[in-house]
Symmetry: D4
Subunit: 254 residues, 8 copies
């Protein structure tokens, strides 16, 4: 094996003081990755992180998007896409419908549904209002695709204080809670005061005027007086799903 | 009366087309206020608006502050002061203690307590946390001085969802609610969903990091999903008291 | 009654120390709301808060909007909708014109006009400019629908200082004032210095460049040197109407 | 039991239609909490949420702080305090040293160390720079006090790319990672690309000029291209510890 | 004259195409300023612009400040200084009192008062509140020093709408108006609607909470619905005085 | 004359102490404006302020815009309109072309050109880039309509330092300078260092990315190190023209 | 030569004290540029700065754009254009295809390709993600047009930490590095820690929600903990190319 | 050598498919750095990047600062420190004066001056105002310490347009320019239009009110209409020096 010989040489050169430590490190890295350019595609990410690469459709031309999806389908058999416009959604459905497609909100999974021999865990997905539901659906799509079971409760906002309390009745056996809220974003704070399970808060870009577009909700969640809420960016359903998967995997590992 | 003659002359000139409409208006105003320079002091404001002028101590030198307070005491017998530093508070107490002094938070009233033959109405003052209490006390001081009765409930934040519900039990007969909250500022939203009385929300400069200093609380209150909350600026206890007095007076007028 | 037996059991368990206080509270809540899932619709909000649920059309698909409106019409006989695009407005009018429709600005009420045996009170609605009028009309629509009488004065901005003074002549018998202003937003400050009635200020998203879209107006209103102005979010006509209704109800209760 | 009789009466009144649903709910809540005013202190929070109430010293007078600490010590035997100034720290140490004190960063625990029969789980705490360490120490203090084992790696920032990789060697058996970074805040992104365990990112108020005080770090963490990072507010060590405890408890529950 | 010969050479080289146009320009500039390094001190600015260089004390060490003042006094006989701390003010007074000193707000002029054979013009200086007065005084100091007559009206804010109207009575013969306002900053808008003379608006860093430190006032002034207001930066008394001097000089030139 | 009798009565009532001072003031204002509702249209503004009312087309429906223009044309014979979309421009041209129309940038004047017996003064209008020119043209249109002569120099930005210097050669006899600049907005600073005439700076919404849309230019102009620049809002050509007219009128009055 | 005589006269007048120094300077400038109005076009910029003028298409009408391009083509034979819409791109291609056109991203060069006798130097262009590539292509187009050789590595973001390390293998002989990154913008920090060559960081407007549109990336780059990164504005490919050209020219000069 | 054997084993396991690619990479890194914990100190950074680690004193306790400095002095013989308070400066001087100390602004180098056999290159350092000089001095200190020659021109701001032109006369043979400016920050734009050498712009936190603390200057520099300016963060003298060193080294490499 040529790599082994070259590694020996690098270490020798380092031991003889011909190259310094950082040079040696750089050369070993070079050696290791040499000739493995395809690795740039990061196809192993799902194995490494438990979460697949998600293609963000926004800001890509239709041609680029179709090309990337086709290449990934060939390489991995399944593609996850987010932030789809309705045109892009229609186009992808026309082009790839034979592969099998599941949709939710502005997200889509192309390829056959994975078989999961056992449930990865249970995630509760709660929204404050009806406008938050499309964001929640993206999250549900990804979670179910990756083997989690999902329990939902939509429109449970604090404008009627009984609603968050009632929504928690359905969440008795969930392992982690994902809470979507726009406007003033108070729901995660109230829910986190009622339970000790992990709470991932997702501000949604719902709301008008000052503090609109999810900014007030984000600040509310970061300033929450309930301990232990964590937050992802505005509208980041994908990130919330990934965070929940990390927790479910941690639970399974024990 | 000279003013009357001059007024006649102005109207004549206007009727003859010698001066135009806005010139006539300006001259009448001039006429009316002429020789009444002291009116600049706006001493009648309390009669006009139901709320006295409040001296903001911040940004004034100690000498200026003492001078203004002395002049107002002489003119009106009573002075309201806000945003006092502890040094200023001590100095005012030393200088004017013989006039009678009531304090609350960073506010102070110097002069003898007014006698109110009947109660102006009842104001509920609620805080989310203990750090909000000093702001609430400024409000209570002003409200009581102006003849309102105050019912308080401190530390009723949503981190324990039973606390706002319980605090409302004490508020059965209040006419208007003033709610102080810092951090994520969710309390007014929850309270306003439990009652139909007017709710004035006061963000307090409590909170750290991003959205701190009351900014998150202000945005939350402006974005509230509960209908009919109105808001004053961060830490504006004086404005909240004035708003409540306006409502109480409206109730008494019927 | 099964609920009663279960309640007894909960209290017994608590008294015997088998469950702690918060567990007991949670179970009673669960008991009470059990089997009452429809309550999630919050149909009683108008009775509870004196103000109906208002559907925000923005961010909803046409299909979702039509569906929600149809369901609410069936359940309650009347629906309030805000932030309508002109397409949505046209579509709703075509679909539901047989129910009776009133419009104002971007708001709409579908269903027959309520009969109010007596006037709830009088609200003054003033705008600074002509661009603010559509926001004011939303407010007027809601106020009249809920039984208030409205007195209006449009285009009363401070660029001609006689205009706010004159507009106040018409407001002699109003119980509460709602003031709409964009640009520099100075009108509520000037009006509040002329009257002691409650003043609700509504910044409108009128204005260009720096501080545009209502931001300067909002800040001006929060920083006002006139005591007792309260503020709602930019363009929040619905919130202003709800705040006024709260005050009118407080006046009627006495 | 008087409460039981009253509960029966409420349900009867509801069944007979004398009171509506929300009135019934409010009365039951009132009934339940009646005479239990001390519950306002929320002393059961640790049992309910797995995380104790933490007293924020900032913005409290020394007298108030000493008073609150003394009352909580009497009620619960242990007190957690955060955001201490060095004066407050000294004063608390002088006053309460006999109770046993542990410190870390600007946080302090007063009262005897709890005995934990078994380890709650393992938390990895990593900092990007040396200036972040005091924030990390607050976190470690709370985690260890609540029964978690902590593995630390300080000064592992991306300015030397080998440092984050090396720091992960020590984190092989941790259940959850808490990562502190100021300046450009890139460390959590790099670490999250190397592992599938939950990552809680804490921006610290380190950094100068534009985007300083932790703002750039917060934005970086929210925008991260690594999937599944969750974020707490700038400098919020307490919130990060609480989030980690929620995850550890979820793991133990299975 | 050497410069003339060198100039000829430059033009020759240009005509022969040896150097290009911009090279020629640069050389002529070099030639002209050569040996005139002291010109870097910009001592002629007052003659050129009608307004002297003003030393900003803030951010300079005491030693640097004393040194600069001494050098300028020697070169020009008079020095203008702004943004003085009270320590710096005291120190300058002790050091340079023999030169003659005039103060106003945080500004100071050292050196003997200039003799102006005729008045440069009349400037009206109006403030909204008492806290704005110290900023106005800096302006007055500079204006009078440069030969303008100043008419003042302090505390003329819109909270009493008669006050701005009355203040304008005193301004009948002024050439330009400088208006200082903090808080909501509405005064320049109202005054500009009453007069056609030039209005320079100066936001002051007065105000608390959201939009405080003069930000709301600045935005209000930039968004003003009165036509023709121009604005300088927050607290920029020096800039306002300079703008007024420019206008007065334009008037004198005709 | 009825008004006179009523005025006498008001003053009598005041003298007898039946009404207080502010009540008397309010009644006189009421008296004066009574029956003059049309005055609300503020038709005299041009006479009062030397600058006509300008209709902002943006945010108005086409129907409202046509209606307002028609009414103003009838009342005053001439209408000024700004912020026109190209559709609105076309529509107005079709509808009102018989009145005579002049256009510039997004502004338009409808009605016959006024005859000015003598020139009001000379205004220099300079732009930094070519993208600023449409803003400058709005300004030129208004200035010429109101009787000023305009000298222009377009594309004189500092990226070639000789360009601002050269542009000033053309400005020898102007009375006031209006300078438009987007991007980094440095041009007014450089020009103001070359001349002592009044300089009104107009930031334009030219520029991309951070500080784009004119924000960087606005800040640069407010922070300018050249003394005496005044600023109007981003893209506010109308305000700049109004400010220049105020100065020209001040020059003519002497 | 008339200019020479006039120059003599200016110097004489200065020497005799008839004019002051700044007047003399202004006159010489005037003299020099007199009759050279075309110089305003700044056609010599490329010679002076090593970088041509680039026409920004955004905000220009199609007619203006075509006109400017045609005039510059006539004057210089080649035109550089940036920020093209796809319509503008199509239109320019149709109109000027006979001149020869090269495109990249939203930039275009019209005119025949320059011949460079020797390579100006080597620039490495790296992007974090695929969405950044179109920005990179604009940069590549300009660099190659001006004689630089470009080495690219696209999609080398830190989400897979091996990717930036591998991308640097290709950059062994580059003279300067341009790094494009959106989202959290961490890539330049990591690359700068691996190399000592100059690094120009370009934030791209990629990213959603809070800190989106390149703002987080910009702040990250300015706060970078790796020493010596410099930054251009969001999406400023042209500026980055210009900065690289400045460095390459400095290298060639030695 | 044990490392070699272990490396063989890793590659074998990878070849046999027992571990995947990323696992193999992680283990090799682990192997390489194993037992080299001290490397965490990143002592080789200067060799790798051409720029030493600089200790930021701000936010560190005096004890921590003294400890770090002492350790680094022992390890490397020389320490670079920035953002020193005057107390810290005094204390370091007292403690380490025997090692040799050079200071500039708020920066300091402790240890004997390095001997540079040949000059690394020439850097021009220019400031707009006198308040920027202390920032420039930090930069000069670092540059000279690392072997560069520095040419300075202080107080060359655009308020006198001849000053930047004159300052460039001194910069004829510099390789790279560092320009410091606060306030409106226009100087780098003007200088970059006069030269083709690399320009690194440093905004300084000089300036008051809106856009103060260097924000306006930063935005101006990022929006500059002169091509090829690059920017570092506000007050980041260290970063500017590092960027210049990167360029000088690139020049020497050729």
């Amino acid at each position: 094996m040529a790599e082994r010989r070259m590694f020996d040489e690098i270490l020798h050169a380092f031991n003889r003081g011909e190259i310094d430590e950082s040079e040696a490190g750089a050369r070993i890295l070079e050696l290791f990755y040499k000739g493995q350019e395809h690795f740039m595609l990061d196809l192993e990410r799902e194995k490494r992180l438990g979460f697949p690469e998600v293609v963000y459709a926004e800001g890509k031309t239709m041609a680029d998007l179709l090309d990337i999806v086709a290449r990934l389908l060939e390489a991995k058999g399944k593609v996850y896409i987010a932030s789809l416009s309705s045109e892009a959604e229609t186009r992808l459905e026309e082009t790839f419908h034979s592969y099998g497609i599941r949709s939710g909100g502005r997200a889509m999974v192309i390829g056959s549904m994975s078989k999961h021999t056992e449930e990865l865990g249970v995630v509760g997905v709660i929204t404050a209002g009806t406008s938050d539901i499309s964001f929640a659906r993206e999250c549900v799509l990804l979670l179910e695709e990756l083997g989690a079971r999902v329990v939902t409760s939509f429109d449970a906002g604090v404008a009627g204080i009984h609603r968050p309390v009632m929504s928690m009745q359905k969440m008795r056996d969930v392992n982690v809670l994902i809470v979507f809220a726009g406007m003033e974003g108070a729901l995660p704070t109230v829910l986190a005061s009622l339970t000790d399970i992990p709470v991932v808060a997702v501000p949604t870009p719902i709301g008008y005027g000052f503090g609109g577009q999810g900014e007030a909700a984000l600040k509310t969640m970061l300033q929450s007086c309930s301990p232990g809420i964590t937050v992802v960016n505005i509208g980041n359903s994908v990130g919330a799903a990934a965070a929940a998967i990390r927790i479910l995997r941690a639970i399974r590992k024990g």
